[in-house]
Amino acid sequence: MIALPLGCIVLLMTLALVGAVVARTASGGRIVYGGSLAISLALLLIALLSIGGGSSTVTLPLGLPWIGARFQLDPLAAFFLVVVGLGSAGASYYALGYGRHEPEPQRVLPFYPAFLAGLTLVVVAADAFSFLFAWELMSLASWALVMSHDREPGNANAGFVYIVMASFSGLALLLCFGLLAGATGDFSFAAMQAAHPSPGIAALALVLALIGAGSKAGVVPLHAWLPLAHPAAPSHVSALMSGVMTKVAVYGFIRIVFDLLGAPTWWGGVIVLAVGGITAVLGVLYALMEHDLKRLLAYHTVENIGIIFIGLGLALAFGANLLPAAAALALTAALFHVFNHSVFKSLLFFGSGAVLTATGERDMDHLGGLIHRMPKTAFAFLIGCIAISALPPLNGFVSEWLTFQAILLHPDLPQWGLKLAIPADGALLALSAALAAACFVKAFGVTFLGRARTRVAADAREVDGYSTNAMFVFAALCLLAGIFPGAVIDLLAPVTQALTGAHMPKQLDVAWLSIVPVETARSSYNGLLVLVFVTISASLGVLAIHRFASHALRRAPAWDCGFPDPRPQTQYTAGSFAQPIRRVYGAVVFRAHDTVTMPPPGATAPASIEKHIADPIWDALYAPIAAAVWWMSQALNHLQFLTIRRYLGFVFAALVILLLALALWQ
């Protein structure tokens, strides 16, 4: 089975070369995206067929001569291959329409299939060398895509921050694998599984994996590149980076921590839980302060990665206490959320790309009223908003509900650290879910409702059929996964069985499509029932309003329904919507405050209000590091301009000092 994904990777790399050749021709986009679509669909099919099967491995004589390259397709890899295949198929199909507006296709087309190949290769790699190679291929290809519009202001900076963070993550993973390979130096995953590292090494490897995979996934405080790089890339690439690449990073974390590291430890669970909770809440708080649509979505990726890591932390905690059923529940919740987030975040980025195509604007305060001009996009975007806000009956609700079910099992745990940490994480999770809903009310309301704030928004047109169809397919997936969660959970059973030694009870056997995570007496959920209830009650509500209100004739009074001023600037804006939350949370977290400048009586100057928002993580972590690097490079700069004899003298002095140290040390 492993041969098929490898064949797909070879095809994708070939397509990258073809893309470099045909990029300037008129049909270049159709060839590259059409080819990517076909290969991604094939990958998706292969993955779906092999997820229940055993694992198949192959060693190819590639790469370093004495290591070779090992590849493996086990249930975990197959599940993530589903995510990769689905996300890239959607993005490729969407790009068939969206990519036509690309001003410089030669800067996108060669790298797009290479990026897909990198994503696939990470998932099937089965030794550290292939894994890191694929990881770097993924980073570099996506970096090239981020830099495809490098002349726009800010994009070069975004690319720089991204490549620095990507290198940092590669370095951390390299060290992690170095620790896991240990003294034997066998870099195959099979050997790492067989070795049992000492507790200190395991702890260090866990932290390094969290840093390495987490900085790629967007864990706070290593998330800095996401809100910069996602808006800079073309929208279908943003969808891939946010929906798929961060998931591949999560895959890296799961592979190292659950598969290679051996038995989990409870304090490892505490670390992951803490990181996950902080990431979830800070991500959504950042998103609330944002009024750039794509940056807002990027911060929501941070939030959802936090939710996924909460699930993973729970799985570690339960696994360490030999509660495999609970660990399987938590891991299922995390993996389900991986799938869900890849679907609805792709959908939302497609929507933001459609808005960008139609208006050329990402700033929500320059949009508005798009529901009248782009009804299809608005509808699909609304489905995505409901899904990411974790509202039933869509898929986001199911995975977060499963996470809560796992959290509710925490009284079974003996450690007080976990007993305290897990409910706190539950509170953070609930808070972030509520704030996410508020944020997407803002995102949808300000962008699509009300009246157009600018001319471009007023002149917007619905986008092409490829884009809307891609959005509709993903919206339908959100709904299907929400109504039939049992099917997804059963699909995940072999994955959790391999990683935790248990799996959730078979859900498709439960009557009426309900899901019962633990037992019927505790809790159950039926998406179909909720859908029917929501549909009926909403229809009744609409009917009642139309019956009693719409048809009742009214003469418009002077009060004007809250629109006494005809100018669209008087509408609620993104900033005004977020202001209450900014007051409550932002004052502490972001040191947010408003300054009102009132001109003295009689002066003709306008009054102004300014809002100040500080980025605490950037100021406390990144700015000092950047300053230190700058200072050091300044201090070392004059080393570039020495005489030849001084350089020789340095070599000589270094040699003598080392020899002296050796002589004194022995």
């Binding site: 005489t643 030849i644 070599v651 002296l660 050796l662 002589a663």
Partner: protein, 221 residues
């Protein structure tokens, strides 16, 4: 096992090489430096030949021949021609005074003995002495390169450094011939490149004093 006499002779030859290194450090005229360099290579050749004899390793004779042919005869002759054609056969200026340089050289020998003797406590005594003395030859060669300003004497320092490496390698028993030959060739190539550069530098700046280069690069010292 190697007899006491064989050990004494190889020890003496290695010590002689260090002595010649000191002699080179002392010279402040280019012709004298080149002469001492030839002597250095000659002593090396004898030492390598003696190693070949006591180790019963005939391929080391080839190494000795290379040392004798290339380093003791060909390269010094070429250097002398070069110095003559460059017209710089008068005094060379040293950066640090000769006495201080000699003291530093003595310190280098002490350092290399201090480092090497404990490390190589369990190896063959011939190799042990050879390696520690070879390290001092290397360090003195480097010291020569650091303290001299003239490009030709830096070349001499570099070549004596290479001789030290050679001494260590032959003492350690079992250096493959191919390594030796390739090292010899790389030295030859380096020599040719340096020679060409010397003439190019000289063409442009009318001197082979490295300070001219530094002045040209606009740097302060």
């Amino acid at each position: 096992m190697i007899s006491g006499f064989a050990f004494d002779v190889s020890h003496m030859l290695a010590g002689l090489l260090v002595l010649v290194s000191f002699a080179m450090l002392y010279q402040d005229r280019l012709y004298a430096v080149i002469n001492v360099l030839a002597l250095h290579a000659f002593v090396l050749a004898i030492s390598v030949a003696w190693q070949a004899h006591i180790q019963h390793a005939p391929h080391l004779y080839i190494t000795a021949l290379i040392a004798l042919g290339f380093k003791a005869i060909a390269i010094p002759m070429a250097l002398r021609r070069m110095v003559f054609r460059l017209g710089i056969h008068r005094e060379i200026e040293t950066v640090v005074s000769i006495g201080l340089t000699m003291l530093a050289g003595i310190a280098m020998v002490a350092l290399s003995l201090m480092v090497m003797l404990p490390v190589t406590a369990h190896v063959d005594p011939v190799a042990r002495e050879d390696i520690s003395l070879a390290l001092s030859v290397v360090l003195i060669g480097l010291l020569m390169m650091v303290t001299r300003r003239n490009a030709v004497s830096q070349v001499a320092g570099f070549l004596s450094l290479e001789n030290g490496v050679n001494l260590a390698a032959t003492g350690a028993q079992g250096m493959p011939l191919v390594v030796e030959i390739s090292v010899a060739f790389s030295i030859l190539i380096a020599f040719i490149v340096v020679g060409i550069f010397l003439f190019r530098i000289r063409e442009r700046f009318d001197t082979v004093d490295l300070e001219a280069l530094d002045r040209f690069r606009g740097e302060r010292r």
